[in-house]
């Protein structure tokens, strides 16, 4: 089996995926999006905020000592 032997399967796969059309409404909705959808992004942002806040508290504590 060689990589080139997969070409026929690839063409079938592409055809299969081209069958379901993308609705215009979904495309237009994407254009109005400001930020990319990344899973866990909000969670990571929250973690970063908690981290920053803890750091500020620590600095304030050290300064007061």
């Amino acid at each position: 089996m060689k990589l080139d032997d997969y070409r026929s399967g690839w063409q079938q796969y592409k055809l299969m995926n081209a069958l379901s059309p993308l609705p215009e409404a979904e495309i237009l909705q994407c254009l109005d999006q400001q930020e990319p959808r990344i899973k866990g992004r909000s969670l990571r942002s929250r973690s970063f905020s908690v981290y920053s806040f803890s750091l500020i508290l620590l600095i304030a504590f050290i300064q007061s000592c």
Partner: protein, 167 residues
């Protein structure tokens, strides 16, 4: 810069949606993940649309933006519990039994590959030359040649192991 016409962009996406859907299917298994990926790709294409040069081939431009968007997102996702290849995520087989069905063969191949390798194979099977693949993925031509050589070797070895075992 003046916004490019939305109507023309929507038509462009609809005309080439097969490329976007195929890339999402190769990298993501669940419908939700695929939809997220699809929407990210469309957003990135929309952002890059004003800089698209008419002399470039539209499908090549879509492949470039789409693959780089997916690969960048995958690198940024720290945990991907739901991300699976086309078929069930199973440990890599020590040998590859040949199957008659072309689609099943392709699934086997996709299960063998890492994220970067998938991008290379997609472009290779699409018929792009090494220099074009290098341009699309922003890597060197020698890097493309080396990686493709390794992938081809990997496939050959797995099938050879199967043939040796069944003798």
């Amino acid at each position: 810069m003046k916004d490019p016409p939305r109507k023309a962009f929507v038509k462009l996406i609809q005309d080439h949606q097969g490329i976007i859907q195929t890339i999402c299917s190769v990298y993501y298994r669940t419908a939700e993940d695929r939809q997220d990926a699809r929407q990210n790709i469309i957003l990135q294409l929309w952002k890059a649309y004003p800089t698209f040069r008419a002399q470039a081939k539209i499908s090549t431009w879509i492949y470039k933006v789409a693959l780089n968007t997916v690969l960048a997102n995958l690198r940024h996702e720290s945990r991907q519990p739901q991300r699976l290849p086309l078929t069930e995520q199973t440990p890599l087989p020590a040998v590859l039994p040949p199957v008659d069905d072309d689609l099943q063969q392709l699934h086997q191949l996709i299960n063998l590959l890492g994220d970067d390798e998938k991008a290379l194979v997609i472009l290779y099977l699409e018929g792009y030359r090494n220099n074009e693949i290098a341009e699309i993925l922003s890597i060197t031509i020698s890097n493309v040649s080396t990686r493709l050589y390794r992938i081809k070797n990997k496939i050959r070895q797995l099938y050879k192991s199967y043939t040796d075992e069944t003798r």
